[in-house]
Symmetry: C2
Subunit: 450 residues, 2 copies
């Protein structure tokens, strides 16, 4: 199964929109999943998207709006009145609703909220707006199914039917006391197999994992993955049940975390996409390039200070990009392994054992590469023997130092509470370039004595 959006299909929809063929459009899109309509709207001109959103029923378009990428959503919402936005919000779960309202211009937020029909829904959304988006409170929805420990199974099933109307997926039934304090859970499966007269008190499981409303989103993700949970209840400081986080929201957290690490490793400092504006892309990329440029100037100065070597050993200068590249590559390799180890919590053993391992690993790699370098350099390219030895020894030293820097910088950053992924990008390549060149020429000076 998979819905293929072809250019012909898009052209056809564009044609129908242009000619105002509403009934044909409605018929065409009737059976299409909202996730596919989202993709269609992202591919079409904004005016077409807006036309479709206004044409379709808001029980379908609300999900489309929630799924759209941020830029398209912003453009679409600009074309809707506050009342129309509120109608979409009415159909959404509180977590998606709050996310959308949070993106609106400051002045419009209250206006939209005032148009929400269901007062309870509006109150829940306003509550969610209070929380930071990177916390459990920012992820949770108010929709959940809860029962009182003092009910029996029959009351419970009746109450649940009412509550379940508003909840897309019932994962667990949470059990609370009269004060709304979380006491435990009931599984839907258990409920199916228990007599209706049984008291909830007698059947519920008194142990339930929960997170605090202020817990960090990535900690929630870690807990839900580790304990293999599909939903987790959220409690406030004094144990009141205030919301529920489901696994689909956690998938987004995991993906965003991985994408952020990847972007940092590539020297992109914020969450940008290929289709962002040139200005946004420049803001994300230029700072790292400036860092690399300044680092480059340090290499220029180092090379300048060794310029006397040009008189007798000009080949030395031909090898600087090679040495710098090896230092950069080794540094990035070492740091990437450590960053992933830190992210997965799989880094074990003492610092000393890690140091020994890294040194022996890079000695092994360095020796192999040095032998390769000597063979190619001396036999095929016919370089001076002394230069060959100098470059080979420098290569081994540079690889060892670069791998030590690559291993320990992320560990140190992590200990200081800084995101270690920072260390895998231009930061480590630039500093390893500088160290590499400095070590190389220092060793050359010692061996060749210029």
């Amino acid at each position: 199964m998979s819905f293929e959006i072809t250019k012909d299909y898009l052209d056809h929809i564009h044609h129908l929109v242009t000619k105002n063929k509403n009934s044909e459009l409605l018929k065409l899109l009737e059976e299409v999943h909202y996730a596919d309509i989202t993709e269609i709207i992202e591919e079409l001109p904004i005016e077409d998207g807006l036309y479709i959103i206004k044409l379709l029923d808001s029980d379908k378009t609300s999900d489309v709006i929630a799924e759209l990428d941020e830029d398209t959503r912003e453009s679409i919402l600009k074309g809707l009145s506050s009342k129309e936005i509120a109608e979409e919000i009415d159909e959404l779960d509180t977590d998606d609703a709050a996310d959308i309202i949070a993106e609106l211009p400051e002045g419009q937020k209250e206006e939209v909220i005032s148009h929400i029909e269901d007062a309870e829904h509006a109150k829940d959304i306003v509550e969610l707006l209070r929380y930071d988006e990177d916390t459990a409170g920012g992820l949770m929805a108010k929709e959940l199914v809860k029962v009182n420990e003092n009910w029996n199974v029959l009351t419970c099933v009746k109450e649940m039917r009412a509550q379940a109307e508003q909840v897309t997926r019932v994962h667990s039934i949470y059990v609370v006391d009269d004060d709304n304090k979380l006491k435990g859970r009931l599984s839907l499966k258990d409920l199916l197999t228990t007599s209706t007269r049984t008291a909830i008190k007698d059947v519920y499981i008194r142990k339930v994992d929960s997170v605090n409303v202020n817990d960090k989103a990535e900690d929630v993700a870690r807990i839900m993955q580790k304990y293999d949970l599909e939903a987790i209840p959220v409690v406030d400081e004094i144990g009141h049940l205030v919301g529920r986080i489901t696994i689909d929201d956690i998938i987004d957290v995991i993906r965003e975390e991985a994408e952020k690490d990847y972007q940092l490793a590539a020297g992109i400092s914020q969450d940008v996409e290929a289709d962002d504006t040139i200005w946004e892309l420049t803001k994300a990329r230029l700072p790292w390039l400036i860092l690399a440029l300044l680092g480059g100037f340090i290499s220029v100065s180092i090379l300048g200070s060794f310029s006397v070597a040009m008189n007798n050993y000009k080949e030395l200068f031909f090898f600087t990009p090679l040495i710098a590249a090896m230092a950069g590559n080794v540094g990035v390799q070492s740091s990437a392994i450590v960053v992933q180890g830190l992210a997965n919590n799989s880094l074990k053993g003492s610092l000393l054992s890690r140091l020994l391992k890294e040194v022996s690993l890079s000695l092994l790699n360095g020796l192999t590469l040095a032998i390769l370098l000597m063979s190619i350099g001396l036999y095929f390219l016919g370089f001076n023997y002394k230069i060959g030895i100098t470059v080979a020894i420098s290569l081994i030293s540079v690889i060892i130092i670069a791998s030590i820097i690559g291993t320990f910088v992320p560990i140190i950053l992590d200990k200081r509470g800084i995101d270690p992924a920072l260390a895998t990008g231009p930061f480590i390549t630039t500093s390893n370039d500088i160290f590499g060149i400095l070590i190389y020429f220092t060793i050359a000076k010692l061996i060749l004595g210029f």
Copy 2:
């Protein structure tokens, strides 16, 4: 909530194991979640882990074994007899069971399978072993809840109770015909609210998303994310319901995919971890370093061929690492954005518009950096005016070319069915180093005329 494993705690367990204090160990670990026991065993010496596995009940240890990292699991399983392994397998869902058996040495597989008590379970596992691990068949479990379209709700609930015993989480109830062909689904929620005499035929939803047993794991992940599914049924070529994939398995696919991209970007060619052996780490890292070394030799030759410039313009050579570093960084930035766009399916617009955008973006970055370079170079470091102009013009050209290469190499790889993430690693930095240096000296020769 979070369980903290301290050094004292581990020492205490080690002590209990050494002194064979079984009852104390059992009491201590009784209330501990299997995911925490997994972590404890990963931190302890293998013999301690084995001791604990043998001590605890297999309804708990089976989950521990399934959760252990591959290396620890291999060591633990070596310490168990085939019969003991089969006892653990008996407790596991078919998907986890098949994964573990697939890791066993060839000769032991059949022996373990022959010791599985439940013949049906063994048959299901053998069936799963047939599928490639990167396909829907490799991800799915045989455990699911299905009902016949010809039953009524009462029969259905009765049958479900029996089936549900073996299924950890009931997401959807699948409806099949007499021939086991997938016809639709019933939600547990709907079942709760329907009279027991209703025929299933009259209430089930005739539309259900499914995947084919041979579909690729990453496609399944994409579909489940896009359509926000927590479980999806798997059918064979002729539509028979053969299994079910749940969202927790998909999370692993998403994470592994992201980790693989990240490792490729860092020049690590296979799935390694910080705690792998030096030999495994070398195998993953050395090939990329050899590639970088060979690329480095090309730079050496290019620089050698321009060595005449050293007579009058030796400063030119000081700037080579700077130019090479900028080319590498820009190339990695551009390729990373494209690779993520390809992975998220968010890359839109024609190749020409992408080219124009990339060129204007890099022109903007290039000009900014060139002005910065001129100011620093001329005013602070006192470089020759002509050299300054040469380096600045080269920098702009190199940045434009590097970003074009960085953008199009992944697009071309992707079109040819090669993983575009390959392009973000040492491959692009090495080739951009070479192009950068070649462009730089060619421009210098044109301007300075050596």
